[in-house]
């Protein structure tokens, strides 16, 4: 039961302190989930792909899934109930701060966003959040490519991961430049899945 409280507090914290929407939430969410031992970094990345390729806000998709996974071990003979409680509490936690903050802004302090102090605070947050998101992408690539979490572990270079990463860029950027459209993440995920099967399975002798 204590774990439900932990789940609630964690997601309240994530919901209240992450700027920049779902992507901005990823660095904080991954560190929380790994510190609590709720998921491994690999599971987190794998589910992130599911959250990106299903409809709805990424933050909600992640919260519901993590909550359900954590709740699964709650009651040995009522797994579905445990999953539901976990999913509900995590989703509630990530939504509540946003809901309350916006209500306060729209109903009480209409002009909050126009105060110079608030504007100055946000002006410092914006470049930091964008830096965090970029760094998360780089860190994830290094983790996948080197098969490591930190430099202290053994490094096993995986050139296939780098090939897949670069292939994504080779699809994404030319289309963006020529057609001025962004390729849908779902298409990229599908292509990378096929590449993964081709490169990693014993089907092809690479």
């Amino acid at each position: 039961m204590l774990i439900l409280l932990e789940l609630l507090l964690t997601f309240l914290k994530v919901g209240a302190t992450s700027f920049g929407g779902g992507y901005g939430m990823i660095p904080l969410l991954s560190e929380e989930v790994i510190i609590h031992g709720w998921m491994t970094a690999e599971e987190f990345r794998a589910f992130l792909a599911v959250a990106e390729s299903t409809p709805g806000p990424i933050a909600i998709n992640m919260a519901t899934f993590i909550g359900s996974q954590v709740g699964a071990n709650l009651f040995p003979n009522a797994v579905a109930l445990g999953r539901f409680l976990g999913a509900f509490i995590a989703t509630f936690g990530v939504v509540l701060p946003a809901f309350v903050i916006i209500l306060i802004i729209v109903a009480v302090v209409n002009k909050l966003m126009e105060y110079a102090g608030v504007k100055a605070f946000l002006s410092g947050i914006r470049p930091v959040v964008i830096g965090l998101i970029t760094a998360t992408g780089i860190t994830m690539l290094l983790e996948v490519m080197l098969g490591i979490k930190t430099l202290y572990g053994t490094v096993a270079f995986d050139w296939k991961a780098l090939v897949i990463f670069l292939s994504m860029g080779a699809i994404y950027y030319p289309v963006k430049l020529v057609k001025k459209k962004t390729v849908s993440p779902i298409l990229l995920i599908a292509v990378s899945a096929v590449l993964g099967i081709l490169l990693y399975s014993p089907l092809l002798p690479i």
Binding site: Y23, T54, A98, F99, T136, M140, G169, Y172, P185, V191
Partner: protein
């Protein structure tokens, strides 16, 4: 009764948007505009721009922030409650269902190969999202320095297995924003004092 109908309609529209929008909050803003400004004409253009700006600069999922705000503008507290519920519910149901089969599914042999490829793709998606946001950021020294310091220190610390939380980055960034703003005020004040009009001597305070 009229209000009840409006809240119900709001809920159904948000549910539809939550069910059919892929790509998270930023993608959702365009859909919300089409629905509430163009089709229902419940919000004026200018008002919507204001809402989008606030949703992107307050903490939490962008989809939740905008749903809460739009709901309140249209039908008060119950409007915001049901708009938020509507946008969350489809995600919750879909992901909750997926969570039951995810562990089984992701342990299938060929799926594990696919997921290895997908992980590289997820790293790319986050990296490219960061770059895209960076390209829209104003390139002044303040933004560039904060962006680069965050990017480099977060990546390095992650590689050395440090636990400096993303929350602190965000708070420090906001703090720096406020400090730079205050210094700017002081400098402006000094300039005013140092360049008195013609009748120097007493230096009247304004």
């Amino acid at each position: 009764m009229e209000k009840f109908k409006k809240v119900l309609k709001l809920f159904l529209i948000m549910f539809k948007i939550g069910l059919f929008t892929f790509g998270g909050g930023y993608a959702m803003i365009a859909v919300l505009e089409r629905e509430f400004v163009e089709r229902q004409k419940w919000l004026a253009d200018e008002e919507f721009l204001n809402i989008a700006g606030i949703a992107e600069s307050t903490p939490g999922p962008i989809a939740i922030n905008s749903a809460t705000y739009i709901g309140y503008k249209i039908a008060g507290f119950f409007g915001s409650l049901f708009a938020t519920l509507g946008v969350v519910l489809p995600s919750f149901i879909i992901i909750f269902a997926i969570s039951f089969v995810f562990d089984w599914f992701s342990s299938l042999e060929y799926v594990t190969y696919a997921f290895r490829g997908i992980q590289a793709c997820v790293a790319f998606l986050i990296f490219s999202a960061g770059l895209k946001m960076f390209s829209k950021l104003k390139k002044n020294p303040f933004n560039l320095i904060l962006y680069l310091i965050t990017l480099i220190s977060f990546t390095l610390l992650a590689l050395f297995g440090s636990q400096f939380s993303a929350v602190f980055y965000v708070l420090i960034g906001g703090g720096i924003g406020v400090i730079v703003y205050l210094i700017g005020l002081l400098v402006a004040r000094k300039k005013k004092k140092n360049t008195p009009k013609d009748n120097a001597g007493e230096g009247g305070n304004e």
